[in-house]
Amino acid sequence: MSNTSFVRNEMLPPAPPPVSQTGLVKWLRENLFAGPLNSALTVLGLGAAIWLIQAAAPWLLHSVWVADSQNECRAIVQERWGPDATGACWAIIRARWHQFLFGFYPMEEYWRLFVTFAGLLLAILPVLATSLPRKLLWGSVLYPLVAFWLLWGGSVWGPILTLAGFGLWAAVFLALQVRLGVVVAAGVGLIVAAVFWIYGVDPIETGLQSVLPFALPEVDSDQFGGFLLALVIGATAIVISLPLGILLALGRQSDMLIVKSLSVGFIEFIRGVPLITLLFTASLLLQYFLPSDTKFDLILRVVILVTFFSAAYIAEVIRGGLAALPRGQYEAADALGLDYWQAQRLIIMPQALKISIPGIVSTFIGLFKDTTLVAFVGLMDPLKGISTAVRADINWKGIYWEPYIFVAVIFFIFNFSMSRYSMYLERKLKRDHR
């Protein structure tokens, strides 16, 4: 017994870990040289990085910012860095940045773009930061119409009457909701509103305009381009495709056969064809479906189809989120007496959307980049449309890299911000502590 008993009289002080287990040495060993394969990859990676830098660094270091043409750029580079030197010619961006950003929007009306963009930031603030008073959201809801008026100009009565159409929709919905149910009431409301928008708005607008003429100079859709166009299409499609996607996802799960088949058909059809096909449809076909005298702008048509495209993807992403919810959540909501829409709004969607955030944001980022495809129907997207237009100038004829890099950097800033915001949102909503 005595040899198993033990009493410690002196306590040990804490000692530092061995050198090989701390600091730079440990980090290097664990991350870069953990084994022969890892070491080989490290060396290869380093080699590739060095090669890339060697190839690009002189070109970037020899940047020229002030010049009137590509030839002048070249002359400056050769004069400064020798006859064989190459250098980036950022002078094109200096000379044409406004076209990359705003297309051919009239310069004297640029203030409207700045106001619209500032308004956009103000309008998304209450959506992104949930700590602000909820009442501010009404401003965000009205913003699109204000933006529409600022961007395209024309009589102020157009957007107001459009808003009235939404009011009509809501009124019909509220009046019929109890008697006909949510889905049918919303459908009837939409039809009434559409008839008003197509046949009612124009004559009333003309009438009101002759009595109370408030108008901004009109800007034609042809003059839109660059990131202005990408943002108009991207932001509108993002804002509308989320609720539309939610409805489609719910429709796909519905017990009502018609709602279900329409949703499935819509989703599968839209996902099954390339976006470019839809864009061609927008530019060629849609005219035939609508009364020939309606002023139905190409940008608007493209926005509608891009929205549909993204809504179909969003619907599937959200369906994944819905599938991840345990049945018990639906049952608990039912057992408490919540009706279908209450259960969706208060219990199901908050959880399903949270699960779907990464997928939703990926779809939005993809959508924003896909706005460059509108070049195929003759719109001035920043990448192809504007770059080509700029190169049509004899002074900038052979310049390729610089515009592309400039456009890529701006896209990156937008998309990286979206990605970061989604990660912030995920962390903030992480509440289940599991």
């Binding site: 345990p326 018990g328 608990a332 408490l336 007496g337 209450q342 908050p350 949270k354 509440r431 289940d432």
Partner: protein, 261 residues
């Protein structure tokens, strides 16, 4: 366990003649599978009924028919004078009168405990928020966890979550409570805290239907035990006679298995 006879006598006193639930000739199928066969059951207001039976015998399905989480295909179910048909209004009315506690709690993980409790009163009963919160705190005190009000469900132990789930149902001031194996997902040391809450509720005269394997609970509070097998009610009796003098072979076999003698 105290004297069963006095238990039963005390229990009998609180039962009124008013019918709370009337199930007659009820049948249900899952596809071709006849899961509930000719169920007849009358529950008096204030009765505490324990439902027992082997796995797959249709216990859950039966009590889930009472608040129409499952639909029955033949026969009648009348709850609080309202017949359950496909009429959505009646279903919602019944659901707001009938509370249900699930095996896996089914709390809403994205809402705090307090929000879990106030949600249905605010949206279904249209109770003002302040009042709903007072009611919620009252029931949280009752299940002895008022200090957890602002936590999220994921931060609570299983026993605490189940007591929150009970409180959440009580906040709707239901006249009938359904329990589907409320303690089966819990560790042994948490079972007692949940059972204590349920016993307290029984003593206040709540009409309760409880699917459970806790036979001690059945003996302490039930005034009727129902034994189900193969989708049918095989035997029902007061707990004393049910446990000491079972009649059918199925019941005897079942009891010997779960009581281990």
């Amino acid at each position: 366990m105290s004297e069963p006879n006095t238990q039963a006598a005390r229990a009998q006193m609180q039962v009124s003649d008013e019918v709370a639930i009337q199930i007659s000739n009820m049948n249900k199928w899952y596809g071709q599978f006849h899961v509930l066969r000719d169920i007849n059951l009358t529950v008096q207001r204030g009765e505490r009924i324990v439902i027992a039976g082997p796995s797959g015998s249709g216990k859950s399905t039966m009590i889930r028919c009472i608040n129409r989480l499952e639909e029955h295909q033949a026969g009648k179910i009348i709850v609080d004078g309202i017949e359950l048909t496909s009429d959505l209004k009646n279903i919602d009315k019944v659901r707001s009168e009938v509370g249900m506690v699930f095996q896996h709690f089914n709390l809403f993980p994205h809402l705090t405990i307090l929000e879990n409790l106030t949600l249905a009163p605010i949206w279904v009963r249209k109770v003002p928020k302040r009042e709903a919160e007072e009611t919620a705190m009252y029931f949280l005190e009752k299940v002895k966890i008022p200090e957890q009000a602002n936590k999220y469900p994921g931060q609570l132990s299983g026993g605490q979550q189940q007591r929150v789930a009970i409180a959440r149902s009580l906040c709707m001031k239901p006249r009938i409570m359904l329990f589907d194996e409320p303690t089966s997902a819990l560790d042994p040391e948490m079972i007692k805290e949940v059972l204590d809450t349920m016993i307290e509720l029984a003593e206040e005269g709540m009409t309760m239907l409880c699917v459970t394997h806790e036979m001690g609970f059945a003996q302490a509070v039930a005034n009727r035990v129902i034994f189900m097998a193969d989708g049918q009610i095989v035997e029902q009796n007061n707990p004393h006679d049910f446990f000491n003098n079972p009649q059918s072979e199925r019941t005897k076999q079942f009891l010997s298995q779960i009581l281990g003698h």
